[in-house]
């Protein structure tokens, strides 16, 4: 698939309200092919909700959103989704290849089909992410890194035109973080698939990031890392004094009030759902 300059994702004046609370509003951005957009911000700010809007799960309260020129709809193969890792019961009778296959026909009605072509496609994508050696292993016995490879495979099966990643590196060891991020970026390079990468740790993906969208309590800023990750920008966004330190290639964000986690290896307690 050749990259085009048509916008893959467009948001214009978009806003989401949960009850009486406004998550974010007046969000305007355009995402084009091959772009790697990181989405940062404190917990609860609405990062995951942004992804849900793009997945067609949550409607906008105001403004406009387009995915590949059309309004977002659920179950769109063109939108690949990579969630954070979750715990599976060790006894759960689901193998790695079954989890991946969900991305192919898990949503279709009816009993499982013994389709050779399906199996071949699953095998192919397992190989692409390097998961062939544990294809028949129960998912409950896999490590986080192994599971996240499967997630990528699951998303790739639909030949997506955009990848939405929701904290995929959470609780992974460094080697796995690198491997997972590299796989995602490889897709971007090979097929021009843009990536929206929600995370609260910027450093592991910094080498790949084109732009950062930073959300803070209803306000937002978008730009290249060197523009966004500055004490001035973040102080302006947060409304409280924030210091950004660059230590060699890594950024550390500190505030006087509490530690805003952007140190490698640290993570605040993740919220799933609101932000």
């Amino acid at each position: 698939m050749s990259p085009s300059s048509e916008p893959v994702i467009e948001l214009q004046g978009a806003g989401v309200q949960m009850g009486s609370r406004t998550l974010w509003k007046d969000l305007t951005l355009t995402l084009r092919s091959s772009e790697f957009l990181a989405v940062l911000g404190p917990n609860g700010v609405g990062k995951t909700t942004l992804l849900k809007v793009l997945l067609g799960l949550v409607p906008l309260s105001s403004g406009l959103v387009r995915v590949n020129g059309a309004p977002p709809r659920r179950g769109n193969d063109e939108v690949g989704y990579i969630p954070q890792q979750r715990a599976f019961d060790a006894n759960l009778p689901i193998r790695a290849r079954d989890l991946v296959r969900f991305g192919l026909d898990g949503h279709r009605w009816g009993p499982p089909l013994r389709s050779r072509s399906y199996r071949q496609r699953v095998d192919k994508v397992l190989e692409a992410v390097g998961a062939t050696s544990y294809a028949d292993a129960p998912v409950g016995l896999l490590s986080g890194g192994e599971q996240q490879r499967l997630r990528i495979a699951q998303a790739l099966l639909g030949d997506p035109r955009v990848l939405l990643c929701d904290e995929p590196l959470l609780a992974l060891d460094l080697a796995s973080q690198r491997a997972v991020t590299d796989l995602i970026d490889q897709r971007r390079r090979d097929a021009g698939t843009p990536v929206v990468f929600v995370t609260h740790e910027i450093n592991p993906v910094l080498p790949y990031v084109d732009r950062i969208l930073y959300l803070v309590r209803g306000r937002w800023a978008i730009g290249v890392p060197s523009e966004i990750l500055t004490s001035e920008s973040l102080t302006d966004l947060y409304g409280i004094p924030v210091d950004v330190l660059k230590v060699r290639d890594r950024f550390i964000v500190l505030s006087a009030e509490h530690h805003l986690s952007t140190e490698p290896g640290s993570h605040a307690h993740p919220h799933h759902g609101e932000g």
């Binding site: 062939t132 050696s133 544990y134 028949d136």
Partner: protein, 319 residues
């Protein structure tokens, strides 16, 4: 070194399924071969015995007295220690029921499970239902009809009629047995009359309605709160008000005798019984089904009524 599974995955699963199917087949072939070895029918005697099945052993006992050696009676509830409301048949009993020519049930809501058992097979049998024979009506009748001694001859007559219908050849024997049975009830009738003569109006209490009909015939006055008896019969705990009333009957000696169903033992009934004993109120044990130690229905009822008479005398003799 890359991992290579020794067998294709679908093969392993097919093996598993193959094993499971093999087990299934083995079970069925084992069953079939066993059936070849089994005896397809009971050895027939020169004189055909009439199969009778009774739901409860007291009706069964009466039926065997009425049928004599011409019938083979099976009773489904024989264990006097089991709660007759909880019941599961085994295959042997179910088969006997399917083959029976005469079926005796109590009815009146006591043995509703008989209906489903009877519906499962298409045997031809005459069903004798005590509730129907006694014309029991109402929304909450006392189902313990076998304590209604004056009416038992009616049931005996109905059973005899069914036996005659199924086995007309032995009609004279059955009728002879019926006369003998009716006569054997005389001591029971006499005992009830004696109690009535000496103790009519005496206050008594029971834990359940089991002996209710006999007490009514003897004109004894039952003081148990209806809610209490109903709850125990249903296998529930009575409400606190009813339990309190029941306890007061004992502690205040408002009743002369406590009749206690020895087959339904719960913390509440046990406590009531102890309270009766400590309060000096005589306790008479009655049972829902006929105990194995009694040889006949008459013997059973007579021993209970005798105990009741003695208890009433004992209560009267106290200051």
């Amino acid at each position: 070194m890359r991992y290579r599974p020794r067998h294709g995955h679908s093969e392993i699963d097919r093996r598993l399924i193959g094993k499971a199917v093999a087990t299934l087949v083995a079970t069925f072939s084992g069953a079939t071969s066993l059936s070849v070895l089994s005896d397809p029918a009971g050895a027939s005697t020169t004189h055909q015995v009439l199969h009778v099945v009774a739901a409860e052993n007291f009706w069964g006992n009466i039926a065997s007295q009425l049928g004599g050696h011409d019938v083979s009676v099976t009773s489904l509830i024989t264990n006097p220690n089991a709660d007759p409301h909880l019941f599961e048949t085994d295959a042997a009993d179910a088969a006997k029921l399917a083959q029976a020519r005469v079926v005796i049930e109590n009815g009146a809501g006591y043995d509703g499970w008989m209906a489903s058992l009877l519906s499962a097979d298409s045997g031809q049998s005459t069903v004798v239902n005590a509730g129907s024979v006694f014309h029991v009506t109402g929304s909450d009748p006392n189902p313990h009809l076998w304590y209604d001694i004056p009416k038992v001859p009616k049931m005996a007559a109905a059973i005899t009629a069914a036996l005659i219908k199924a086995d007309p050849e032995d009609s004279s024997a059955f009728q002879h047995n019926l006369k003998r049975f009716d006569a054997s009830l005389a001591p029971l009738t006499a005992m009830l009359a004696k109690i009535k003569r000496n103790f009519a109006g005496a206050p008594v209490a029971y834990t359940e309605r089991v002996p209710g009909y006999a007490l009514a015939v003897a004109h004894l006055s039952v003081k148990t709160p209806p809610g209490f008896a109903r709850a125990i019969e249903d296998g529930e705990d009575p409400g606190p008000a009813d339990t309190l009333s029941m306890e007061r009957l004992l502690t205040k000696h408002s009743i002369d005798v406590l009749l206690y169903n020895v087959q339904t033992v719960t913390p509440v009934t046990t406590q009531i019984r102890s309270l009766a004993e400590t309060s000096g109120v005589p306790v008479v044990g009655v049972s829902e089904t006929m105990p194995l130690s009694d040889r006949t229905y008459q013997e059973w009822q007579l021993s209970q009524l005798t105990a009741l008479l003695n208890a009433l005398r004992e209560a009267k003799s106290k200051p």
